[in-house]
């Protein structure tokens, strides 16, 4: 199968997926204590609905967003609320969090499955909303909002993002391989809520086993009128970025400042689809998370299913600690993830991986001046001029970079990845965007 791909830009980082792609998802035992930040989604922080010392059950809602954009947060363990206080957060510096001490005696909660086909669209949407599902690819956009597009947008295609183009990460790979049926059922649930018939699952060609597994399930389940297909994609970063993915699979270009439904498409992540499936069939809220723990800085690599709120130190302990070679800890992928300064950071809904990078895996050399090699321009999938943005920002003129399209930068990191001068081009773009917003306000 020849893979489709986006045309402009892109890079080929070393994949390092061999570290974890053969490892089955293993369930990590629940930790003693979980830290559940109130901000795990795009939108306003949730408000706690529990108080200190209150007892909560696994899966109970503990914080909600009532009016604004947001998603409900559920307790991931059975236990007692210990405190509600600021704690480190993987992306924001610090954030209010509900700390729950687990009751070691409580058994894990069991869910019963039912047939989702008997439910109406509204019921399905309601279950998704109640389960607090957000986009697990990274941005954390509340899924129930995404699944109810404005009526003007005539959505005709659902795209499942199985590209997983970030190096190291194998979460979606393992899910597709181990639970292909659930993923496809999930896709059908989404199709039903959207009232459309067509779904494309885009998978990069470096996961042939996942493609096979999905295809096998599809062959068996060809009886309903929904058409779900798997499309192989060339291995190229950032194949999994929304706009690039849509272009690769449908040939449609989402204009700058626009959203996928502007070109009649909705994109969902594989993990999100699995969560939707679990919410719709079992009414299980989102409080567990499959993530990749990888890198040569940790003793044992794994694809772990952990409770949301587990702090990194517990994960490290479970995997046997770090190695001496560890120089950097990153949540998320190595291209777009965030470096951690503390192991007290909890796993949140959007955490797709934790990387413990060894000295050979990351590059900490200081940056030099731009030599105008133009490699960043070639690498940029959006056709921007990152070098110019960098030079403007360094000269204190970040607000003048709109002409280079900096507002469309989604910080994929391709530019900085290829930059021979090791310039922090993504950071420059962020500063430029901030400057433009500040002056525009």
């Amino acid at each position: 199968m020849a893979g489709v791909s986006f045309v402009k830009g892109g890079v080929h980082p070393e994949e390092h997926k061999e570290l974890t792609q053969h490892l089955p998802i293993e369930e990590m035992p629940p930790p003693k204590e979980v830290v559940l930040p109130l901000s795990m989604h795009f939108g306003a922080p949730a408000k706690p609905i529990v108080g200190k010392k209150q007892e909560v059950r696994e899966g109970d809602p503990i914080a909600v967003v009532e009016k604004a954009l947001g998603a409900t947060i559920h307790s991931s363990v059975t236990g007692t609320v210990k405190a509600i206080e600021p704690r480190p957060h993987p992306i924001m510096v610090r954030c209010d969090a509900i700390i729950i001490e687990r009751d070691p005696a409580a058994p894990p909660r069991q869910y019963e499955s039912e047939d989702w086909r008997s439910l109406t669209r509204e019921q399905l949407l309601g279950r998704v909303r109640d389960s607090g599902i957000v986009g697990l690819g990274g941005a954390g956009f509340p899924t129930h909002v995404k699944l109810s597009p404005p009526p003007a947008a005539k959505v005709d295609t659902l795209i499942l993002n199985g590209a997983e183009c970030e190096p190291y990460l194998t979460t979606d790979h393992r899910i597709m391989l181990e639970q292909p049926a659930k993923v496809i059922e999930g896709a059908k649930i989404i199709l039903k809520t959207l009232g459309i018939k067509k779904c494309i699952i885009g998978v990069e060609l470096n996961k042939p086993d996942a493609i096979n597994a999905l295809n096998k399930v599809l062959e068996k389940a060809r009886r309903d009128d929904m058409s779900v297909s798997v499309q192989g994609m060339r291995v190229k970063y950032p194949q999994g970025s929304e706009k690039q993915l849509i272009f690769a699979l449908t040939g449609r270009s989402v204009p700058g400042g626009g959203l996928p439904f502007d070109v009649a498409v909705i994109v969902q992540n594989i993990s999100t689809t699995l969560a939707i499936f679990e919410a719709a069939t079992m009414q299980k809220p989102l409080y567990e998370k499959v993530m990749t723990v990888s890198g040569r800085g940790v003793r044992r690599q794994a694809n772990l299913k952990v409770k949301v709120g587990t702090v990194l130190s517990d994960v490290v302990d479970y995997l046997g600690g770090t190695t001496d070679d560890l120089v950097k800890i990153v949540t998320g992928g190595p291209m777009m993830g965030f470096a951690m300064s503390s192991l007290e950071v909890p796993v949140v809904k959007t955490t797709s991986g934790i990387l413990f990078l060894g000295s050979k895996e990351t590059d900490l050399s200081p940056h030099g001046p731009c030599i105008h090699c133009g490699w960043c321009i070639e690498a940029c999938p959006m056709g921007l001029s990152p070098k110019e943005v960098g030079i403007y920002v360094e000269a204190g003129r970040g607000h003048l970079t709109e002409k280079f399209g900096v507002m469309e930068c989604f910080e994929c990191g391709c530019c900085a990845f290829v930059c021979p001068a090791k310039r922090p081009l993504v950071q420059f773009a962020r500063l430029a965007k901030m400057d433009i917003k500040r002056r525009g306000a």
């Binding site: 291209m335 900490l364 056709g383 970040g398 709109e402």
Partner: protein, 376 residues
């Protein structure tokens, strides 16, 4: 609010005065034991200094060739040039309060290239003067590496040419196989140059025409072969088209340069030499046009300088064509026998404009164009 943009909420805007904080300032009080920096966390292997040193490495065969051709003078001149470039860079960086950057190899590269485009018979102190212009005036005053508009090595050469025209136009040495009497190497080093000074093919062509040049250098076949291999009088590093081609192909293979500038440049020179270079139209000898003088060195090593050539491919092709056209124009109609240096310098003037005209094709830009940047 939990997008990536949230990252910057607590972050000071630190882009004032050209200094940028690359360290992520989150939770400084925690004193992290490991590196905290902004994404991406993995990098491609090539660094600026690796690029520079690779280019220098591909130039070394040329240096050996010129030592064989012109004697140890060539090596000494190159050394003087490199050392003076390094010294000038170090002094100016100290004066201007910048960090020393000799390790990145850019000054060494400038030094090597500058030595390669001067005749082998010039006095030893000459490259030092070129280095001041190339490094201090052209580069450091403009803000250091990456900000210069003109190719440093060529600015150095142009300045030497304007300041010491006699040395720069008469300092030719015969290439070894051409010197009838075997000149001992010591003579190359310790003077006695006047006795053996010899015109370059282009000088000869400018004065007596193509036919006479071919006769002087021993018949067309011999001319092709010798020029290709590099047995002709000329600048230290530009005689051997073969070695330049090999070096250029290595750079192309390593993707340090792309084909756009060299190919468009060489093709333009060949085409225009063919059309205008002869006694009548379409009777010029394109091969001689390309092989003589600095066309090859210019195309592969000078015009492809990242800093001073356009970044976009389309701009690069225009740039290459421009360099080629100006080279032929100056050679055939201008005041100098060789035009590569000035052609590149002139096109360097246009680089900022070419960069402005040729922007990367955007991935579906916003339908409503944003309000044009301030200043309109």
């Amino acid at each position: 609010m939990m997008s990536h943009r949230g990252l910057l909420i607590n972050q000071k805007f630190t882009a004032e005065g050209g200094k940028i904080e690359t360290q992520d300032p989150r939770t400084p009080e925690m004193g992290a034991a490991w590196a905290v920096s902004v994404s991406p966390h993995i990098r491609k292997g090539f660094t600026t200094s690796q690029i520079m040193w690779t280019v220098i490495a591909t130039l070394m065969p040329l240096l050996l060739m010129s030592i064989y051709n012109f004697g140890f003078r060539a090596l000494l001149l190159t050394l003087v040039s490199v050392v003076s470039c390094l010294v000038v860079e170090a002094i100016s960086q100290k004066l201007l309060g910048r960090p020393l950057s000799f390790r990145d190899g850019s000054a060494v590269l400038t030094g090597v290239l500058m030595a390669f485009v001067i005749p082998p018979g010039v006095p030893y102190w000459l490259p030092a003067i070129g280095a001041v212009a190339a490094i201090f005036i052209n580069k450091e005053l403009m803000g250091g590496l990456g900000f210069n508009v003109w190719n440093p090595a060529l600015v150095g050469r142009a300045l030497m040419m304007a300041s010491f025209p006699v040395a720069m136009t008469a300092g030719w040495l015969p290439s070894r196989p051409f010197s009838e009497a075997a000149v001992p190497l010591t003579q190359y080093v310790y003077g006695g140059l006047d006795a053996v000074s010899q015109a370059t093919p282009l000088n000869w062509m400018k004065q007596f025409g193509l036919q006479s040049m071919i006769e002087k250098f021993g018949g067309l076949d011999k001319v092709y072969l010798d020029f290709f291999v590099g047995y002709m009088p000329g600048c230290i590093g530009e005689t051997s088209a073969l070695l330049i081609l090999i070096g250029g192909l290595v750079l192309l293979g390593m993707r340090i340069i792309t084909w756009h500038i060299p190919v468009s440049n060489v093709v333009t020179v060949a085409a225009l030499t063919w059309v205008f270079g002869g006694d009548t139209w379409f009777s010029g000898d394109p091969l001689i046009g390309v092989l003589s003088g600095g066309v090859m060195l210019g195309a592969f090593y000078m015009a492809t300088d990242y800093v001073t050539s356009p970044t976009l491919k389309r701009g690069q092709i225009i740039f290459g064509i421009g360099v080629g056209a100006l080279t032929v124009l100056i050679r055939l109609k201008g005041g100098y026998p060789e035009g590569v240096c000035y052609a590149i310098l002139l096109m360097n003037c246009l680089t900022p404009a070419l960069d402005e005209w040729f922007k990367p094709a955007r991935f579906a830009p916003p339908k409503q164009a944003p309000v044009a940047a301030a200043g309109k």
